[in-house]
Amino acid sequence: MGEYVIKLPDVGEGVAEAELVEWLVDIGANVREDDVLASVMTDKATVEIPSPVEGKIVWQGGKVGEVMAVGSPLVRLEIEGEGNVKPGDEPVPAAPKEPPKKEEPKPKADAPKPAPAKAPAPKTNGASSPMPAAAMRPEGEKPLASPAVRKRAAEAGVDLRRVMGGGPAGRITHEDLDAFIASGGETGARGTGLTRNMSVTETPVIGLRRKIAEKMEASHARIVPITYVDEIDMTALEDLRAQLNSDRKEGRPKLTLLPFLMRAMVKAVADQPHLNAIYDDEAGVVHQHGAVHIGIAAQTPNGLMVPVVHHAEARDIWDCASEVGRLSEAAKTGKASRDELSGSTITITSLGAIGGIVTTPVINHPEVAIVGVNKMQTLPRWDGQEFRPRKIMNLSSSFDHRVVDGYDAAVFVQRIKALLENPAMIFIED
């Protein structure tokens, strides 16, 4: 028997720490080689840590949500044969958070009396119960009441699930029931079906949610945003899009608005390269990129993710479309790689499908510009002689005012507006 320590491996270039997001095995579990032990999250990619050996888990190095340094011990295994920890070797740092469970001696009739048990006693006494006095019952939990109370409640038409329990462990006492009835508490007879919901659910902000929170915090704390909104007449582009879609060759993706907008942005940043940039505000340097790596903010079952279409400047409209399709699928199924989720130089965010006329997009720090797509709708517009139905869509864009002036922002948006309203220009080389 030996002990084998698995350390948190280097899970990505330049990654010094990773957040533990899931344990897939518990202490005491037997694992085989290549069984996944835990998931850790770096930046935005989740990495599964497999076991290189067969053995039994005897210790875990952290709790879910904890940020662990690369190289710190993740689990200790008991294995057949020699481990990788020898006596006298560098001891595993940090006392285990949970000492290995000691089995209480089982009572054996013939054996001498077991020694006094030092059970891990939660300190309690009658006065200070571990539950607050008028405890709120977590949702779904059965109300606790003596048979007499239950019977009285049934006779009074009171659903005990609606009654707060003031007794120990949240037990509903006769007094609780009296108070409920006296207060005109909803009884079955009234049966409005509407009840006060006193539940409070605590959700630890971990994993992707924490990453999002940190990103948003960084953006808000540092960036001074200016948001600029203008409306765009999409009628011509929509006609063109419909045409392209109906005539498209087999195997080509169906075009959405996004590829057009991406190509328009490529053109617009060619004129204003300082908008396609990373602002290293600590060093005080703006890195203008020749490459246009466009982040596409996407809602996934876990939360917001931003897969990146790299080198949009080198992709035609069809290529942009298929890449967006591939990446958003990968993001939704959690299969997007770290590379596919990083490196953007400018970002598009779209809540258009849901509705809304204006958004104030939060800049994807340390970028300096983000373009937000709002809902398209058919609205009357005056063409000089009469009102005509036009397909109108707002574009809400934010810029880092520290390095982009309002004038530049306006010029950029107006350029995109011109391109989208005259879509042929998107396809003409300057």
Partner: protein, 462 residues
Amino acid sequence: MAIIDCKLLVIGAGPGGYVAAIRAGQLGLDTVIVEAEAHGGTCLNVGCIPSKALIHVADEFEKATHFAGESAIGISSGKPKIDLKKTVAWKDGIVKRLTGGVGGLLKKNKVRAIKGWACFVDGKTVEVKTSEGVETVRAENVIIATGSKAVELPFMPFGGDVISSTEALDLASPPKNLAVVGAGYIGLEMGIAFAKLGSKVTVVEALDRILPLYDKDMTRPVAKKMKSLGMEVLLGAKAKGAKGKGLEIETKDGEIKIIPADKILVTVGRAPLTEGWGRENLALDMDGRFIKIDDQCRASMTGVYAIGDVTGEPMLAHRAMAQGEMVAEIIAGENRSWDKVAIPAICFTDPEVLSAGLSPEEAKDAGFDTITQVFPFSANGRAMTMEAEDGFIRIVARKDNHLVLGIQAVGGGVAELSASFGLALEMGARLEDIAGTIHAHPTQGEAFQEAALRTLGHALHI
């Protein structure tokens, strides 16, 4: 014959049915109960009561055997003899008193009892075959309480020397060699009793453990006692059939052998009695082999209720009684639904095994973060004075608020503790409630208090 109209018709006068009828009578409902046999059902006639009578006799006989010659406690006497015919007659007397008592209670509560076999014509009408002909009963509400029957092995049907627990309670003498097929609670209760009465008992169980519904800690003291009684337990073995004066089995290792058996007691479970009373004339939804019911024991037809063994596990008389009482009150217009926290279950083995509420495993599976501890009877004074040191009491509680989720016990006479276990669970006791209740000294009940104290981390006597 005239048609009998009533508010409530109960089919089956077992513990579920007769309780429903009595309660309905108390509430003033015009009630008819139909039963083909004696009142009291399996429980009073061929189950709980007569088996406990036999077990009592076996215990007394074992004591006497124990005293033949020298004994540690200083009593010595001659070798005891048993006249099982006399035992059976005594047992029958008890059964008769009880079943007669049920008849009296029904009468007192103005319930009309019809002796005969009921068969549904439709959801409101039942034809009863009585010795005087067929009577038709029409009822606004019907309670189906037909119970269950012993499961028969297809290759070894009951008859001759292959017997069910019913016949085992009426033997003229203890069989020299008794083979018990099935190590559930019925098989072990009867097997242990006959072992005490002098039979050479072999228990054959297909699974790899006895009393599979209970964890190993709880069954260990029973296995130990069975061994000391000279009982042989063949686990992982399959009964193949009766062969002359023996039972052919296939052992765990695939070996075919014949174990001597003057009687073969088959106790491989009980099946709900869902045929033979016209279920085909109703449109009842089933839940597996059982009649499907909701939390008010309503079956899928309006005005039709079902209670007891025919509605599912656990097949226990006290569950059926509680259901029967509830349904009578529902039919009388009261607002009731099944809200019981625990249905304690007891094996009257030696030692007795008792479980109320959730086991540690079940509590964990239900998602509770738990604390649990045992208190052994080897540290309990009263247990020592009764020569009943084997066993323990175990408590499972929620870690966060110390609400007691389950209580188990193994030991001599622990069945009686079921009252306080059930009360604690039903009242929503916390560990502190049990620990803070004075338990009289010297009793085995002190072990209950100590188990609570120990779970809280400060047992006094260990």
